[in-house]
């Protein structure tokens, strides 16, 4: 019983949402798409050692981030949330710097952005979101934490422990699983016992929601509702956004070894979230083709600016090896830094 038959609908509806919002979603998704394309190109040119594409997941990412309030909420991402970062207002040259391997975790200000450091441990940041949320309620704040994770991550013990904690403490968390059907080479059938991540919610006494992850409006609605519930003290929600990883896991991956591309091709052709949203905007009268072309042009321009910015960004100085290990450094580290200065410094 796979939850993954492509929903089949090759159209989505946005009529119930304000046109400003849907245009903003489109703008971010379009920009993310272009930036993604630029990033893949940068990897091919050798500027990025590797890159993980978000192509096909723009609706899930942008609409979930846009449903939050960057003034009081806090996002805990994995390594694949470029489009979320963009929609949430993260400084994107700093974000993309991680893909040029300038700094693990990115070069944007995590606390100012209220968007956690890029985290490569699958499942690892999910308990952070719970801790943040527990702390937020304790100080009487109204913020909500959103934790991103993948279908593969749902197998990790940390994700279970985090959900149980959130349930016990009634913490204002949105667990947002992008089920893109693949965890590297392993499909849902051999990853998620029972076939549904959202179905796990019930076992923690929390709301569980399955949503079409390529339908920006549906994702936006689901996260809005979950965040509102969390804000008014209703506790955590687990949202599973069904989408598809149309690209390889990363630029180092070779899907030919483990999957037939017909399914991916179907998603590309009929379920492209950017195309779906574009059609819906026009259908709902939220924008004309010309207006959207103008948005596209601005998106492309912004993507190129970010691309140029990250390509030109300076490499960190080697002394930064030592600067951030501790708030209060140690004599031993100072000694090692001196060795670096004398024997390594370029």
């Amino acid at each position: 019983m796979s939850t993954h038959e492509p929903p089949g609908r090759d159209s989505i509806a946005v009529d119930h949402l304000p046109p400003d919002l849907t245009r903003a979603l489109y703008t971010h998704m379009r920009t993310a798409r272009d930036l993604d394309t630029e990033a893949v190109a940068l990897q091919r040119q050798g500027v990025f050692p590797a890159y993980v594409s978000v192509r096909g997941q723009e609706a899930a990412q942008v609409a979930s981030a846009a449903a939050l309030d960057p003034g009081r909420d806090f996002v805990f991402p994995t390594y694949r949330e470029m489009a979320s970062a963009l929609a949430y207002g993260v400084e994107m040259v700093g974000y993309m710097a991680t893909h040029r391997a300038l700094w693990h975790g990115g070069l944007y200000d995590v606390m100012e952005s209220r968007f956690g450091a890029i985290n490569a441990v699958v499942g690892g940041p999910v308990p952070h979101a719970v801790g943040w949320a527990v702390g937020e309620r304790m100080r009487g704040g109204e913020g909500v934490a959103l934790a991103y994770f993948g279908d593969g991550a749902s197998s990790e013990g940390d994700v279970h422990e985090a959900m149980n904690f959130a349930g016990v403490y009634g913490a204002p968390v949105v667990f947002f699983c992008q089920n893109n059907r693949w965890a590297l080479s392993v499909p849902n059938e051999r990853q998620v016992a029972g076939g549904s991540v959202a179905a796990r919610a019930q076992g923690y006494g929390m709301a569980g929601v399955t949503v079409d992850g390529n339908d920006a409006a549906a994702v936006y609605d689901a996260v809005t509702e979950a965040a509102a519930r969390a804000r008014r003290g209703g506790g955590p929600t687990l949202i599973e956004a069904l989408t598809y990883r149309v690209e390889p896991h990363s630029t180092s991956d070779d899907t030919g070894r483990y999957r037939d591309e017909t399914e991916a091709d179907r998603w590309r052709a009929h379920r492209d979230p950017v195309a779906l949203l574009r059609a819906a905007l026009i259908g709902a009268g939220h924008a004309t083709d010309e207006e959207l072309d103008a948005i596209d042009a601005r998106a492309r321009q912004r993507a190129e600016e970010i691309r140029d910015g990250v390509s030109a960004a300076p490499e960190p100085d080697g002394s930064e090896l030592f600067t951030h290990v501790f708030r209060e450094t140690t004599q031993e580290l100072t000694r090692q830094r001196r060795i670096w200065e004398e024997e390594v410094q370029p």
């Binding site: 606390m111 100012e112 450091a117 952070h128 719970v130 801790g131 943040w132 708030r327 209060e328």
Partner: protein
């Protein structure tokens, strides 16, 4: 964060002499910390109403409420993961993991998250987390209740590690650890929890990373931490009867290690024995021996001797005293270094 804290009261009082166990001294330190800084949170398995399996958090929930002092579900990784998130929301978490051996399920969060977050965020998200970890053996406890993880923590960039040996130091080191904006693993020697002695609880004065000469001597330096300090003092008393004056150095901070303090002592005594409970191979004794040797190579009259647990899993009851460094084994090592 620290600017807001008023420590004048605590600091002003002249400490009185009291008879206290280490477990009580730690409890008192936690009280001071909870009182002085509203961001301090104490949590872990059974630390609330029960007051912890060693009663270290006894009465804290009653005094500070169940928001500041609270029980968690039984999941070590989430306890440390929650600490990360709390720190990112401005709190100063003081989690407890119930026993040393149950820190392993949390190692990923400790090493890959707690220890790295300040670095990963280039200083934007400091981790002022103090992990309290009842540690080491000597109490004939069940499996996984007698482990010594200091080598692992000391090897982890981004962590500081403390291990007090007596009530007064336990108090001072905990104040320092929790007030520090860096993550500290604070290892409490279970075997010394009930050791009562007259102490003055006072504000710490030595900076983080300072060792302490517990007993001066001139023929050799015994280097130890946690419960082994007490054992080394016993050895020194015995040796003194034979006219051998052993210096006992309590390392206290296992990261950063007081390299200068080690060098100063061994430069005088020319001989050193390092004692720990953890297994020998790749234990912290190797680091200590190497630091001493690097600094005192020309002074050393003999190689640094190591007296440690054996390279075997921590054993049950009757074998425990045969596993842990005995007074005899330490004395043999002293003899070896004197006769080298």
């Amino acid at each position: 964060m620290t600017e807001l804290i008023d420590r004048t009261d605590a600091a002003a009082e002249t400490p009185v002499l009291e008879e206290l166990s280490m477990q009580q001294a730690i409890n008192r330190a936690l009280r001071v910390l909870l009182a002085e800084d509203p961001n301090v949170l104490v949590f872990g398995e059974d630390v609330g109403a029960l007051g912890g399996v060693f009663r270290v958090t006894d009465g804290l929930q009653k005094e500070f409420g169940d928001q500041r002092v609270f029980d968690t579900p039984l999941a070590e990784s989430a306890i440390m993961g929650m600490a990360v998130g709390l720190a990112m929301n401005g709190w100063r978490p003081v989690p407890e993991l119930q026993f040393d051996g149950f820190a392993y399920p949390a190692i990923d969060q400790i090493v890959n998250q707690v220890a790295r977050m300040n670095y990963r965020t280039r200083g934007a998200a400091p981790m002022p987390i103090t992990l309290r970890l009842p540690s080491f053996g000597g109490i004939q406890a069940p499996e996984h209740h007698g482990e010594s993880l200091e080598a692992l923590f000391a090897h982890t960039p981004g962590l500081k590690v403390a291990a007090p040996s007596d009530p007064a130091d336990a108090y001072g080191l905990l104040l320092q650890s929790v007030r520090s904006d860096d993550p500290v693993v604070y290892m409490e020697p279970k075997a010394r929890y009930w050791d009562r002695r007259p102490v003055r609880l006072s504000e710490p004065t030595d900076p983080i990373g300072t060792s302490r000469i517990v007993r001066p001597g001139r023929h050799a330096t015994l280097i130890a931490w946690g419960a082994m300090v007490h054992r080394c003092v016993q050895v020194a008393e015995l040796a003194a009867e034979d006219g051998v004056e052993l210096e006992v150095l309590d390392l206290r901070w296992l990261k950063p290690i007081d390299a200068a303090g080690l060098a100063a002592s061994v430069a005088r005594t020319k001989r050193a024995v390092v004692v720990h409970e953890a297994p020998l191979t790749a234990g912290l004794g190797a680091e200590v021996a190497t630091l001493v040797t690097e600094q005192c190579f020309r002074d050393l009259a003999a190689p640094v001797q190591r007296v440690t647990g054996f390279d075997v899993p921590y054993p049950a009851g009757p074998l425990e005293p045969q596993y842990l460094p005995t007074i005899d084994r330490i004395l043999f090592a002293v003899q070896r270094t004197l006769e080298y």
